[in-house]
């Protein structure tokens, strides 16, 4: 326990410099702006703003990225409330009651409660995060290659079994991602694989380039259809961005209830903010004394999912920081950005660079506070950005994406990769193949293969090693069980349908 507070103190020492606080502020505002734009969620926001962290020291860069991520979460619900267009999937639920509140002239209260609920959810999530990371990291230090391999298999399987959607299409996304990850010179033997004679592929495919392709450029393509859209809303009737005592009373319990729920969902791989928000909305509707108000502007219907969403984003940081395994698209992007900075998240991060690991945690706390400060008084000026027509925003995003690509390796070949990745990404979306598992597999692929081969060497080529080691066997068993569960669920769905 004392160790945790000592570590947290180190973290605050790292985070509490003026430069870092300034970047938390800038990152938070930029993130909020990106998060607000329809169709652009945290993943895209972090992906296209990675270049601004170049040239910073790792701690500052990490802190800025976290602020961006957080800001995008805060911002996501603004668009839902004001114009009924969610910034990303996890903000869909915020439309249900947020937009009706705006129509009733209570936009101010809606904006305020969403900021407050995000803050409370984030804070509760942070408390869990602070007390959970160290024990998990300590436990994971004992993992050898077989355990790590099984854990990664579990993470990959879980992303497709726990999330909604077609199992097979998810599996295709994963295998495709794994294949991409094997392109280039094999690290262990020096063998060149799958480059088809293209020398530029020898170093492998940079997954950040793919990420920018499928998250930023593909998003632009997705928006090509409704470029004529200009959002109109009346900013005179937003009202005071604050809530009444009655609002507070109605929202407090739902916020407190749903934060732990959101956090747990966030820790589990494959279950991101979308599931957390929908679950908490359903829960509140069931518990409510007047469920008929839900969907017509019930303030708790907005507060609960907002709290759950931000707690969930804290939960998602747990596997990312302690195991180096991202559980969602956004955390995958974060992992990519970290690796670019030479920071390799995982249990050793806590022993080798405690100042970075705890600096991030401390800065998330600070970021949370700064964001609520930004979002309450600045809510009205910030939502004005929603007026900027899509046809102007899209070229800017496109330009930022390509410039970001250039900065990654200073290579023109990356432009080819990013453009092709974007087209393939768009095709995959069209036929319903999910992109997050693909990105996840691409990022984890290299390590997974390495762990697999190290284990095989350890066991003299006997694959039974994965079952003989108890921890490894448990992970594989859970992975298999979740697969079976998903298959049964699918079969049942078909019967009832």
């Amino acid at each position: 326990m004392q160790e945790i507070f000592a570590n947290l103190a180190i973290g605050f020492q790292t985070a509490m410099t003026w430069v870092n606080i300034m970047w938390v502020f800038i990152g938070g505002v930029l993130g909020t702006v990106i998060g607000m734009l329809p169709g652009l969620g945290p993943a895209t926001g972090v992906a296209i703003l990675i270049p601004i962290t170049f040239g910073m020291n790792p701690a500052t860069a990490l802190i800025t990225l976290c602020a961006l991520y957080y800001g995008a979460m805060f911002g996501g619900s603004r668009a839902s409330i004001m114009i009924n267009t969610p910034g990303d999937a996890s903000a869909i639920v915020s439309c249900f009651d947020g937009y009706p509140m705006t129509k009733q002239g209570r936009a101010g209260a809606a904006l305020a409660i969403s900021a407050i609920a995000s803050f409370i959810g984030g804070m509760i999530g942070m408390v869990f995060l602070i007390f959970l990371t160290q024990p998990i990291a300590n436990g994971a230090l004992k993992f050898g290659p077989p355990e790590m391999f099984s854990l990664m298999m579990f993470a990959l399987v879980a992303t497709i079994t726990l999330s909604e959607g077609n199992l097979l299409k998810g599996a295709i996304a994963i295998t495709f991602g794994l294949m991409l990850s094997t392109v280039g010179i094999d690290g262990l033997s020096g063998q060149i694989r799958f480059t088809y004679g293209l020398e530029s592929l020898n170093d492998g495919i940079d997954f950040l380039v793919i990420i920018i392709g499928v998250y930023a450029v593909t998003e632009v393509y997705k928006n090509f259809k409704d470029i004529g859209l200009v959002h109109k809303f009346d900013s005179k009737h937003i009202g005071k961005v604050w809530i009444t005592k009655d609002d507070w009373k109605r929202s407090l319990k739902p916020m407190l209830r749903n934060s732990p729920l959101g956090f747990i969902i966030g820790v589990l791989p494959g279950m991101g903010g979308t599931i957390a928000t929908f679950m908490s909305y359903a829960l509140e509707k069931n518990l409510s004394k007047h469920p008929e108000e839900f969907g017509k502007g019930a303030i708790e219907g907005l507060a609960a999912p907002e709290a759950a969403n931000n707690a969930c984003s804290c939960g998602a940081m747990v596997p990312l920081l302690t195991l180096g395994i991202p559980g969602s698209g956004t955390t995958a992007v974060m992992l990519g950005a970290l690796m670019l900075l030479g920071v390799r998240p995982g249990p050793t991060l806590f022993t080798d660079h405690p100042e970075i690991a705890w600096g991030v945690i401390a800065s998330m706390l600070i970021g949370n506070i700064i964001l609520v400060v930004i979002n309450l008084p600045l809510a009205i000026p910030l939502v004005q950005i929603l007026r900027v027509p899509t046809r102007i925003m899209l070229p800017i995003i496109m330009g930022l994406a390509l410039i970001g690509t250039y900065f990654l390796n200073y290579s023109s070949f990356d432009f080819v990769v990013v453009m092709i990745a974007a087209v393939i990404g768009f095709m995959f979306i069209k036929i319903g193949i999910p992109l997050p598992p693909l990105v996840l597999a691409l990022i984890l692929g290299g390590t997974t293969e390495q762990m697999f081969r190290n284990s095989m060497v350890l066991a003299d080529g006997n694959p039974m090693i994965f079952i003989q080691k108890p921890i490894s066997a448990v992970f594989l068993f859970i992975a298999a069980a979740s697969l079976v569960y998903a298959l049964i669920k699918n079969a049942r769905k078909k019967k009832t349908a």
């Binding site: 601004i52 299409k169 495709f176 094997t182 094999d186 470029i227 102007i392 899209l394 070229p395």
Partner: protein
Amino acid sequence: MILGTIYFVTAALLPKPMIGDQVGPKLFPYIVGLAAVIAGAALFIQDKRPGKASKKAEFGFVKDKDLWIKILLTTVVGIVYGLVMDKLGFLIPTTLFMLFISTLINKGRLVQNLILALTFAVICYGVFGVALKLSLPRGFIESMLPF
């Protein structure tokens, strides 16, 4: 259409595991390749079963012809943009690229697009090249600037 998509997936995935000639680097891709083929085949079977595949998977090349042409154009121009950047520097290609993209999206507003393209290029150069001191490609305009 469904057939096309399935073939696209399986065919693109099949030949890969066959390459690679050592036991070490071969095994993992081999397993992955096998999994991919199974998944592709399973999807193929699922889609073929009558009545079940209610949602047709389509790229919509015909229906959204305009959209795909735009995407194709963007792809080509994006690649060209990357190729000329090393020769022409940052400002000129970026302005041209932005002008192209915004014209594609924001048709018929030439002045607005020109302003957008120029401002974007200059601001990016200022932020990344000057303020953050990242090295940007230098063409003849950039070498005339004092920074």
